[in-house]
């Protein structure tokens, strides 16, 4: 773990459940302890409870919630994937207002807002009404405001949603810098690679349940060193009946109507073998996707569910 190890907990969730007013239970007995200065990534498909968990933590900072303790409730910031601002005011006016609401003086709020606008590349649009922003820019504004509050616990809901690659790098840089300064971050994401690269620990959520919390490296180690090769066929009729058993060092993981998923130990050696094996059986290959083992596979192993829906033909 890069940060937070041995630090006091900034957040303690102990068997917390949450139901919406209509009776839908969104979270079941969540247990999670987050150390100060730690970055935790919540990973799971849509509807698994990531946003609800973040919102519940944010809400607990102002209303007592059974089974949930925030060490310093006064300093919690939440950045939603669709941030809420006054559309007819400029980004700068919105940011300064949000900071002033948290008790920052006018001059300090303007200085801090300017600093974070620069970090997130928002200078050029700072004085334009927020209603004219694209989704990605509005999202960056939300992230900038969340970090500018200097909150001890920052909750980020899909921080990469709608962002271009440069802005993604900015988010990663900011995460790194903030955590170095002792900020605790809990973020939800659909991107296992981002979580693996930027989170100290990752929590797998499925159907409102938190099933496992580990470091990314532990999760990846748990799925073994097997690389996955997904091959899509160039013909509509699946030719599985013509396929002989796969060559040594290759095994079938799954068959789908339009392709096959193989597990291999040595990709440089196995890939030509696999293609020869398929072409020998008269199979036309339209695409090949080589996936190193990662959190996506670990998630599937732990939860039995896929992070994203299967691609359809």
């Amino acid at each position: 773990m890069r940060h937070g190890q041995g630090s006091p907990s900034a957040l303690r969730v102990d068997g917390m459940s949450f139901s919406y007013p209509d009776g839908t239970t969104a979270l079941h007995a969540i247990r999670l302890t987050v150390a100060t200065g730690e970055v935790i990534g919540l990973l799971g498909p849509n509807g698994c409870g990531k946003t609800t968990l973040l919102r519940t933590i944010a809400r607990a900072s102002r209303r007592a919630t059974a089974g949930l303790q925030v060490r310093d409730p006064g300093t919690v910031a939440l950045a939603l994937d669709r941030p809420v601002f006054r559309g007819w005011l400029s980004g700068r006016q919105n940011a300064v207002t949000c900071l002033r609401l948290r008790g920052m003086g006018r001059a300090a709020a303007e200085d801090v807002a300017n600093t974070w606008f620069e970090r997130f590349g928002l200078d050029a649009v700072a004085d334009r009404p927020v209603s004219t922003y694209s989704r990605g820019i509005a999202h960056r504004l939300g992230l900038a405001v969340a970090f500018a509050t200097k909150a001890g616990l920052v909750l980020l809901d899909e921080p990469l949603a709608g962002l271009d690659p440069a802005a993604r790098d900015q988010v990663a840089d900011v995460l790194c810098a903030c955590v170095g300064a002792g900020t605790t971050v809990v973020l939800s994401t659909h991107d296992p690679n981002f979580a693996a690269a930027n989170c100290d620990r990752v929590a797998f959520l499925a159907d409102g349940r938190l099933l496992a919390v580990e470091t990314p490296s532990s999760f990846i180690a748990s799925v073994g060193g097997e690389t996955r090769i997904d091959i899509r066929f160039g013909q509509t009729e699946a030719p599985f009946e013509r396929l002989p058993p796969p060559p040594t060092g290759i095994h079938e993981r799954a068959r789908t109507p339009g392709g096959i998923s193989l597990g291999v130990e040595d990709p440089p050696r196995a890939l030509p073998l696999a293609l020869t094996w398929l072409s020998g059986a008269g199979v036309r290959v339209s695409s090949v996707d080589v996936r190193e083992p990662g959190l996506r596979e670990a998630y599937f192993k732990v939860t039995g569910q896929r992070l994203e829906p299967e691609r359809t033909e």
Binding site: A58, R62, R63, L78, L89, R102
Partner: protein, 237 residues
């Protein structure tokens, strides 16, 4: 004063809407003020318009802000709810007053010398009514689930309170007269009646109405944490 400033800045950022809100009352009320309608009828029209203007103008943006999550954002910041309520109500009332000021001038001009004498009491009564209506708008916004419900609740509640204040009838029983004294919109009726030159039966005594409005404000402020929970996530549909 962050919310106060925010409300004013938001209003002034939409200049066309701000000017429109000044023009519409003039366009609607000036013909009535210049007409030969009886004074009590004119008073009722002006009273309904002023109270609706403030109540709707408070409730509907509040419902919209709550649904958009803006109020949740404000409360999440740790900003005092009492300050939020006081500042937003005062900002709303003063903005309403500024936007209604041109039409008030038209009404005063149309009523001649009697109107000039009624200006101080009318301004006081108008500010009191606008403040109370803004407060009521926030409370109603917390009790409804949609903009349509907010509009309905504002109309029904305002008309009832205007009725209690005697806008639509002359109280004929001692009980009704006593109730009218405590109605928050009574000073507005007295002020508008004075503007029309139709003096009430006795000298206007605003104290009971001010006390009633203040008591209502205090109750809402004391329990603000409880009733504003409707503005927070998770929203009840």
């Amino acid at each position: 004063m962050t919310i106060w400033r925010l409300e004013w800045r938001s209003a002034l950022a939409r200049r066309r809407l701000f000017l429109w809100n000044m023009a519409v009352p003039v366009l609607l009320l000036a013909p009535v003020a210049l007409s030969a309608a009886a004074a009590p009828h004119r008073t009722a029209v002006f009273g309904v318009f002023f109270v609706f203007f403030a109540t709707f103008g408070s409730a509907i943006p509040t419902v919209r802000d709550a649904h958009a999550g803006w109020l949740d954002t404000i409360f999440q910041s740790g900003y005092s709810r009492v300050r939020w309520l006081v500042e937003t109500v005062l900002a709303g009332a003063t903005l309403d007053f500024v936007q209604l000021f041109p039409v008030v001038l038209v009404l005063v001009a149309a009523s001649g010398r009697a109107g000039a004498r009624a200006i101080p009491s009318l301004i006081f009564a108008l500010l009191l009514a606008l403040g109370f209506a803004n407060l009521l708008g926030h409370l109603l916004a917390a009790a409804v689930r949609s903009l349509a419900e907010a509009a309905l609740a504002c109309a029904a509640t305002s008309l009832l309170l205007l009725h209690f204040a005697g806008f639509f009838r002359t109280p004929t029983t001692p009980w009704a007269e006593r109730a009218a004294e405590w109605a928050p919109y009574r000073p507005l009726r007295e002020g508008l009646a004075a503007l029309q030159g139709a003096s009430p039966s006795g000298p206007p005594d605003s104290l009971p109405a001010v006390l009633a409005a203040s008591l209502g404000a205090v109750v809402l402020i004391v329990f603000v944490r409880r009733w504003t929970v409707k503005f927070e996530w998770p929203w009840v549909d």
